[in-house]
Structure formats: structure tokens, C-alpha cells
């Protein structure tokens, strides 16, 4: 089993969360943005009568696809190649960066325009290109904000969700040529980005994209977007390179119906996103079309019977927007380009759990993510499954074993209850407890055992 490399792990989650929890402005920004999108999603999902059937269809199509992934990839490759695309395969992040870097170098260009793509974030493409003297210009508004700020993305759909309009205005004034007088009105900020990128779009010779879907039957790639930066990159340059995770396959063109209905409503809370582009090999745009199929740990995820459903993800980010943990920490605490509940199950599987051991525990298992997932990924179930594989401290393991040993025998259990009972204590709560319960009493009082357990009271006659 070969795991993935790239931007998939960081510091221990609880430790990384601490400074973020103390950032009041971040908390306000996140609460406002996730609150807005939750309401929009709920409204447009509510108007679809067959939403639950649609979710089930999405789940079933993805499960079928994963079961037949090798054949479907071969079919995709054949169809795309027949339509004039060149298909490459990349085992991991390093190989994918090398392939894309070589393709760009062969054009002689030193600047490329990019459509927002999680896969290129995952493999660290921009940094790898920079090391070869190639500048990658992010054209999605939020990616542009993150790039101008020298920051990292904190959300799958809206990488700059952690910034509010005032912060973005200040950033544009400082870092975007010709934007010294921009206001904090979102429309004004969007117009500044339009002016800034227009010339880049019209002169770019090479573009790099990801893809939301890859249709095996026809060799078609699909990019779902809002701003038109995607259309610019996919249409105007001479060379187009698309990095596509192997799990992006859907079997047939007709299957797109299910995902084009699930994704926009779950993602931006719209009935349909402004622009979706579909192209098959060389068409009326770029004359050189390359597709790089990426493994980078996906085959390892596929090998896990319970965990493989994480590959069904269509990157809508609905689970982030409803997650009470994500809402309080933001995406940076997760240390991976995939934050939130889906990141907590995807990142540890891509890297191997040992390299991401704190993420499966970064959840209360409240289940809000599962409820909204458009392809019904049972995230709590996979979290629990991964906790099983996660390395544990010897002290914790010993305590859990001891507790289980006591609890599996009614006599031992009854004796333990009697020993724990505190008949003589007057206070029923504790303000300070020793480790490990000190973590509890740091923020809340700890209730103490009752004077008599229920079973003793039952014996005495309830």
C-alpha cells in the first residue's frame, strides 16, 4: 500500500486549534460565512422533492464507480486519447509536479494561469513550479486573495473564508496593482479582480486546471465554477493541462445529471452554478490538451472497505459549513488542504493514519456532516473506524483496557461502583480534578458520583 505525499498533514489538531480559538475576528468571520451558506443551502435543497433519492443515486453511482475504477479509467483514457488529449499517469505528488512542470517547460512559457483545483493544492504544484522558474497565477477570486496574502487555503470551496471584506480590501489596496482606491463592497472587490486578471487571461499561453468530473464513456472533463475564470483558462490558452484525481471518474454522461443537481445546491446554495464547462479532448479551445491522472494515496484509500467511501466526495464543502468544530477553528487547524469533516477522514487515509493521528479525533461525532453530505458519506462511521487504527498512548490504552476488564464482569463492576460512590461528600461537583480530568475541569465543573449507585437503590427498593 502506497500512501500520498504533498500538503496533507500538519501540526497536531488540538495544538494547532488553540491560537485559532483565541482569534475573535476569525470566529466572527467563520460564523457569519457558514451561517449564510447554511441558510442558502437549506432553502434550495428544500425545494427538491426527490433530494433523498438523489443523494442515494449519487452514493450508488460512486460506489459502483469505485468498484470498477481500473476498467473505467482505461475506458476514459481511451476515449480522451481518441479525441486528441494526451493522458499521463502520476503515482504521487512529486511525479505529478514533474510531469506538469515538464509540459510547461516544453512550451517555453514562464507564466501559467490556473483554475482553482484542490488536486494541484494537494500536490503543492505552485511551489514546485516556482522552483523551476514558472509563475502560477491563481485566477479564482478566493485563491487570488490567498495567493496575494501569502496565506494558505482554509476551506475547500472558499479558500479565503477566514477573511472578511475589510481585510480583503486592505490586502487588495496593498498588493494589487491599480487597486489603491478599492472599497470593501464585494462587487467593487470583484471588479478589481476582473481588471487585474483580464490581461493575464488574454495573453496566457498555458493553463492548469483540475476537474470536477471525468466521464469514462466519452473522455469528457467537467469543470464547475462561478466567476468565468475557469472558462477563460479552459478556452483561451494554447495548452491546457488538467490534473485529475483517479476518483473523479463517473461512468456515463447521463450520470452527470445526478451530480450537477447535487453539487451546486450543496456547495454554493444555488440551483445551478453560473458556469459549467465540458470538453472532450481537443475542441474549439486549446490545441494541446493534457490530462494527468493522479493516484497519490487514492489506491490506499480504495483498499479500505469502510474508508473508501471518502473517495466519493465531490468537494462541495457542505460538511465544513455545518461542522461545529470547523466553525470554531477554521481550516488551518487541520494542517491539510482538505479541512473539516471530510478532511478528517480523507487526509489520514491518503497519508496513512500514523502521519495524521489527531484528525480522526477532531470531531464530536455529532453527525451534522453525514446529514448534509450529497453522496451520503458516513463520516462519523469512518472517523470511528480510523480511530481504531490511530496510534494511542500507552497510558490511555492501559486505562481503557482496565475499564473494559472491570466492565465486562458484573461483580467487578458492582464493586467498582461501590468504591467510587461518595456517600459522605457534601459538594456534588469538583472544580479542579487531577490529570487527565484536569482537561475537563479547566472549563467546567465535574459532577461527582452519587452517594449510592442506581443498582444499590434498586436493591433497596425504588
Amino acid at each position: 500500500m502506497t500512501h500520498g505525499t504533498g500538503n496533507l498533514s500538519g501540526a497536531d489538531f488540538p495544538r494547532a486549534a488553540l491560537p485559532l480559538l483565541a482569534d475573535d475576528r476569525l470566529r466572527r468571520n467563520l460564523r457569519h460565512a457558514t451561517g449564510t451558506i447554511r441558510a442558502k443551502r437549506a432553502a434550495v435543497v428544500g425545494e427538491v422533492d426527490d433530494w433523498e433519492e438523489l443523494r442515494e443515486a449519487g452514493r450508488a453511482i460512486k460506489a459502483h464507480t469505485m468498484r470498477h475504477l481500473p476498467e473505467l479509467l482505461e475506458r476514459f483514457e481511451e476515449a480522451a486519447a481518441a479525441a486528441g488529449a494526451t493522458v499521463h499517469w502520476a503515482r504521487d505528488a512529486t511525479e505529478a509536479c514533474a510531469i506538469i512542470g515538464d509540459l510547461i517547460a516544453a512550451t517555453g512559457e514562464s507564466e501559467v494561469v490556473k483554475v482553482k483545483s484542490m488536486a494541484t493544492q494537494e500536490i503543492g504544484l505552485n511551489e514546485a513550479l516556482e522552483a523551476r522558474g514558472i509563475t502560477a497565477v491563481e485566477t479564482d477570486l478566493a485563491e487570488l486573495i490567498v495567493q496575494l496574502a501569502g496565506d494558505t487555503p482554509s476551506h475547500i470551496l472558499v479558500p479565503a473564508i477566514h477573511k472578511n471584506r475589510g481585510e480583503i480590501r486592505d490586502l487588495f489596496r496593498a498588493a494589487m496593482p491599480g487597486a489603491q482606491d478599492v472599497s470593501d463592497e464585494p462587487a467593487d472587490l470583484a471588479a478589481a479582480a476582473r481588471r487585474h486578471l483580464r490581461e493575464k487571461f488574454l495573453s496566457a499561453k498555458v493553463a492548469v486546471s483540475g476537474a470536477n468530473f471525468a466521464v469514462a464513456e466519452t473522455g469528457t472533463l467537467v469543470v464547475v465554477e462561478s466567476e468565468g475564470n475557469g472558462r477563460m483558462c479552459l478556452t483561451l490558452p494554447e495548452t491546457l493541462i488538467s490534473l485529475v484525481g483517479v476518483e473523479k471518474i463517473v461512468p456515463s454522461f447521463a450520470d452527470l445529471e445526478v451530480f450537477l443537481r447535487l453539487l451546486p445546491r450543496s456547495s454554493t446554495g444555488e440551483r445551478m452554478n453560473p458556469y459549467t464547462s465540458m470538453w472532450t479532448g481537443v475542441a474549439d479551445g486549446p490545441s494541446a490538451v493534457h490530462i494527468v491522472l493522479l493516484d497519490n494515496g487514492r489506491s490506499a484509500v480504495l483498499a479500505d472497505e469502510v474508508g473508501r467511501q471518502a473517495l466519493h466526495c465531490i468537494r462541495c464543502s457542505a460538511c465544513l459549513n455545518v461542522c461545529p468544530v470547523y466553525e470554531r477553528t477554521g481550516g488551518h487547524a487541520y494542517g491539510s488542504v482538505y479541512p473539516g469533516p471530510i478532511g478528517a477522514i480523507l487526509s489520514p487515509q491518503l497519508t496513512g493514519v500514523a502521519a495524521n493521528r489527531s484528525l480522526p479525533f477532531a470531531s464530536t461525532l455529532c453527525g451534522a456532516c453525514y446529514e448534509v453530505c450529497p453522496v451520503k458519506i458516513d463520516i462519523p462511521r469512518v472517523l470511528v473506524h480510523l480511530r481504531q487504527e490511530a496510534p494511542k498512548s500507552p497510558v490511555e490504552r492501559a486505562a481503557m483496557r482496565a475499564m473494559s476488564w472491570v466492565m465486562r464482569d458484573p461483580r467487578r463492576y458492582a464493586r467498582a461502583l461501590r468504591a467510587a460512590a461518595l456517600p459522605l461528600r457534601r459538594r456534588r461537583t469538583l472544580r479542579r480534578a487531577p490529570w487527565p480530568l484536569s482537561a475537563w475541569t479547566a472549563a467546567r465543573d465535574l459532577p461527582l458520583p452519587a452517594a449510592k449507585s442506581f443498582r444499590e437503590r434498586w436493591k433497596e427498593g425504588v
Binding site: 502506497t2 468571520n29 457569519h32 460565512a33 449564510t36 443515486a57 450508488a60 453511482i61 459502483h64 469505485m66 468498484r67 481500473p70 479509467l73 499517469w89 502520476a90 503515482r91 511525479e95 477570486l141 478566493a142 472558499v158 471584506r165 480583503i168 464585494p186 462587487a187 470583484a190 479582480a193 476582473r194 486578471l197 488574454l202 466519452t218 469528457t220 462561478s226 475564470n229 472558462r231 478556452t235 483517479v246 461512468p251 454522461f253 447521463a254 452527470l256 454554493t268 444555488e270 440551483r271 445551478m272 453560473p274 458556469y275 459549467t276 464547462s277 465540458m278 479532448g281 475542441a283 474549439d284 479551445g285 491522472l293 493516484d295 489506491s299 490506499a300 483498499a303 472497505e305 473508501r308
Partner: protein, 199 residues
Amino acid sequence: MSAREEILARLRGALDGAAEAPAPPRPVVDARAQGDPELMAGRLRDYKAVVHRAGPGELAAVLGGVLAGVGVLAVPPDLPEAWLSAHSGRVLRDPDVAALDTVDAVLTGAAVAVAETGTIVLDAGPAQGRRALTLVPDRHVCVLFTRQIAPGVAQALARLRPTAPLTWISGPSATSDIELSRVEGVHGPRRLDVVIAEY
């Protein structure tokens, strides 16, 4: 072993002994089913597109009104002459990208539309031209015939040729990237006019 062979071998190994996961039954789709023009118009307006209606024989006159004030208009090479009979401005047939950046608007037809979502789909077919044409100008005027309106996404897909270059358009370009609030007008056309014509 090549990367291709190795990845395929890894994936096959990962699926060793995996239970069959049957494809879900595909519902039968009636590609000829007609969508409701009123619903289409309402959904377009929800996206801040400007909707115009043209009865039988009224298309040229309606377009004349919609295009009034457009100095330079781009059109695909095969746009029907009759559509422009009431328009007096300058017309560029299939201009290059640099010229497209200077026009006031582009006028095209469409291939299919989805009433449920207010989406128009272009497939580079008749009266539509290549994809860049409807992307670079700041205003897109699109003629949609009522017979082209499908009720939902499934029927629209069934009417399309998958390998054609397809652009699905739902309103003017927009972004939700600032505080997750939608704002119209980024890189694509900031204004979308749709003329729904009876046919």
C-alpha cells in the same frame, strides 16, 4: 513498470475480494419533454439575468430593441441574417479574442435550456460559435427558442452530444468568495440578456 501499469495494479489490488456494487437503475428519460418557459424566465430573473419575450415573428423587432445602443456587436459566423434586420450598429462576424475584448455585446443562439435551474447550454452548434465568443464580451444576448427548453437537467443532457464543447450558463458571472455572499459580475459577461422566442 510504468506509472500507468503501477497505478492500475494498485487499484486492482485494492479491490481484490471487494463485493460487487451494482450500478443504480437508470431512469428512462424523455428527451423530447418540454420545459415551462414561464419557469425558465423566473429562474433566469432570480439570477439577475434580463429576460425578454418574443412572440411568433417578433424576434427581429425584439432584438432590435434589446440591442439598441450597442455600438459594436459580435456574432458567430452563421448567425441568421434575419435576426439582425432591425439592428443598425456595427456587426463583427467571429472576431478574434483581442477584438472581442472591445465589443459592446455578443449575440448568439443556444442549444438547450433547463427550466428547473434557469440554465442555458451552448454546444458550439448553429448560431453559437466557439466558446470564447460568449466569454470575453461584457454582455451576452442569447436567443432561446421555447422548443429548446427542457424541464430538467436529465432531459437537457439527453438532448446534447457529449463530445461537443459545452458551456452551461446560469445567469451572469458571479462569485460567492467574499463572506459566502453571491455577487454578480466577475470575469465572464457581467450582463446576460435572454430573449425567449416562441417557435
